[in-house]
Amino acid sequence: MPILVLLLLLGGVLAAPGLVRERSWKVGADVQAAMDRGEEPDNEIVEVSILRLKNARYRRGRPLPEWVQELDGKKISLWGYMAIGTLEGLSEFELVPESCECGKSKVNHFVQVTLDDDVTRFIPGRITLEGTFSCGEVEEDGFITSVYRLSTDELP
């Protein structure tokens, strides 16, 4: 019995990289397949509703829906509001579906935006951003700090 368990564990270690690649949240299956074929990722911009992301089924530790994973690594266009209280001069902020989320920020209810060539200034009202989307849990000290992220050059 212990030998069987050992074999199973060994099998797990050997197979794990393949499994991780297959279920990767860094790059969706379509993008991964294109990269495996040596193709450049598709640069067509996909319009995504932040409400659809917010309402995508998310449970900690479970895979995100396929359609979300398919967006990973793609260029997307996304509307939303800067979270109230976004400080000036930072390279990151939270994009939310409604400007006042009232301190109940669920991890799948916002997109963590990184500005590559700009810093934050508070913009009231709806904004639309274009950038590269990535998804999957980012964990710090056992807390999930983001599920959705967008890397963009600058604010509108």
């Binding site: 074999l7 797990g12 709806r126």
Partner: protein
């Protein structure tokens, strides 16, 4: 071979899972007082996304965390408030009567800043003796409080007490006319669970919504919420997609199928109800819950979100209508020239604060003014000026120009005798709007 290796991997991961879980979440006895204190600090002052997670973890620790939190919560509402909303929200999870004794006075104090969190905490495991006390909060000005109260009463009425169940059904049916669509949807789902499945037609209405409050897609948000609610009941949506406009052909086909399914579900459920209970849910969806027509020519907007006084969505149109709420909003005709006069005050407010768009600090209380930019056509994208604050009073937060605009907006709301007192959105509207202003950026009347 690959499949065999994958099977082995899956089995290995399954075998390892308990150990991994154990290493992530040590049992309660392993948390030192210092670790508990660190979690409390994260739940109070971590980022908005970490606070609820830290509080959840404390709730799972149980008694050692409860004892520490009770020592911190003290005996006054002021000390309880200092815990912050994330911690207050989990106090009810400890099932500790000491916390209920602390939470109830907070629930009953209209000035307590975290009443939504208090109400959810109390609703976690309500006591039968609290029924009468809870019922009064179904008319609370704050929608999340009404929502949590509905949940609490549903839990209490889930037993064998048929009188209590009938009483709950009537209370929930009344909430189908709530001014807040989230509350209406919850009432519909709870009523479905009690055999009144006709209430699900309220969700069907939400699936057809396309309304907006300026650039905020309130209708699209309602469609997602209705989809989630129906899916939670394992109802086949016939291919309806919330992100696709409801007028699109595939969604029209899906809506027709769904209507048939819901009507069949309602008929089957009603057949099992006592005769007297079959008419509890109205045969037709009331206007407040129906799909609304478009709002044309909105030139000014006022959105107030007050943790103490509730939310108000107001718009003034270029043909002098006051639009109250969203979805299918209430519409009140104002005297000719009202909107133009308000726009002049809005111009002055912008000119007094050139380039400034935000005042205050992050928090739950918010005033959002929408208005045409000075010098730009009224049809152009509106300027939005925002004030926000946390739980601490900020009576002088609002600049004079916006106070003048707020006062003029409040003064333009007709008196009670000119408004429909049966509509919860228009009842005592001017007084309630002034109250919300006062609780956020200070009173708007001349000081």
């Amino acid at each position: 071979m690959t499949r065999l290796v994958r099977l082995a991997a899956a089995a290995a991961l399954l075998l390892c899972a308990p150990a991994l879980t154990w290493s992530q979440e040590p049992p309660a006895r392993q948390y030192s007082p210092e670790q508990i204190d660190r979690l409390i600090i994260r739940a109070q002052s971590g980022s908005a996304v970490i606070r609820p997670q830290a509080a959840e973890r404390l709730a799972r620790i149980g008694k050692p965390a409860a004892d520490r939190l009770y020592a911190m919560a003290g005996t006054s509402l002021g000390e309880l408030a200092l815990l912050g909303p994330s911690l207050i929200e989990v106090l009810g999870r400890f099932d500790d009567p000491r916390f209920r004794a602390l939470l109830w006075p907070a629930m009953e104090d209209a000035e307590f800043p975290w009443r939504p969190a208090v109400s959810r905490s109390l609703a976690h495991r309500p006591r039968a003796a609290e029924w009468d006390r809870l019922v009064g909060f179904l008319e609370d000005p704050i929608a999340p409080v009404r929502l949590a109260t509905l949940d609490a009463l549903a839990l209490l009425s889930g037993g064998d007490d048929s009188e209590g169940a009938a009483s709950f059904d009537a209370l929930a049916a009344a909430r189908l006319g709530d001014e807040n669509d989230v509350v209406r949807r919850r009432a519909a789902v709870l009523l479905d669970g009690r055999g009144h499945s006709r209430a699900l037609l309220w969700l069907l209405e939400d699936l057809q919504r396309t309304d907006t409050y300026f650039d905020l897609p309130t209708g699209e948000a309602a469609r997602y919420a209705a989809v989630n609610a129906l899916q939670s009941l394992d109802i086949d949506l016939a291919g309806f997609e919330a992100f696709v406009p409801p007028a699109a052909e595939p969604n029209q086909v899906a809506l027709a199928k769904l209507r048939e399914r819901l009507l069949a579900r309602a008929s089957a459920a009603e057949a099992k109800l006592p005769e007297a209970a079959r008419e509890l849910v109205p045969r037709s969806v009331p206007a407040i819950a129906r799909v609304g027509g478009p709002v044309e020519g909105a030139r000014l907007g006022l959105l107030l979100k007050s943790c103490r006084r509730g939310d108000y969505y107001l718009r003034w149109t270029d043909d002098d209508q006051l639009i109250i709420g969203y979805g299918n909003p209430a519409r009140v005709q104002l005297p000719e020239g009202t909107t133009a006069r308000l726009m002049a005050v809005a111009d002055a407010a912008q000119e007094a604060n050139p380039g400034k768009v935000y005042w205050g600090r992050p928090g739950c209380d918010m005033e959002s003014f929408r208005m045409p930019r000075v010098g730009e056509p009224a049809e152009a994208r509106l300027q939005q000026l925002i004030l926000s604050k946390d739980e601490r009073p900020a009576p002088d937060l609002r600049p004079a120009g916006l106070s003048a605009l707020g006062a003029a907006m409040a003064a333009s709301i007709p008196g009670d005798d000119a408004l429909d007192s049966t509509d919860p959105r228009t009842r005592s509207l001017a007084r309630r709007v002034r109250g919300a202003f006062a609780s956020i950026g200070g009173p708007v009347e001349a000081r």
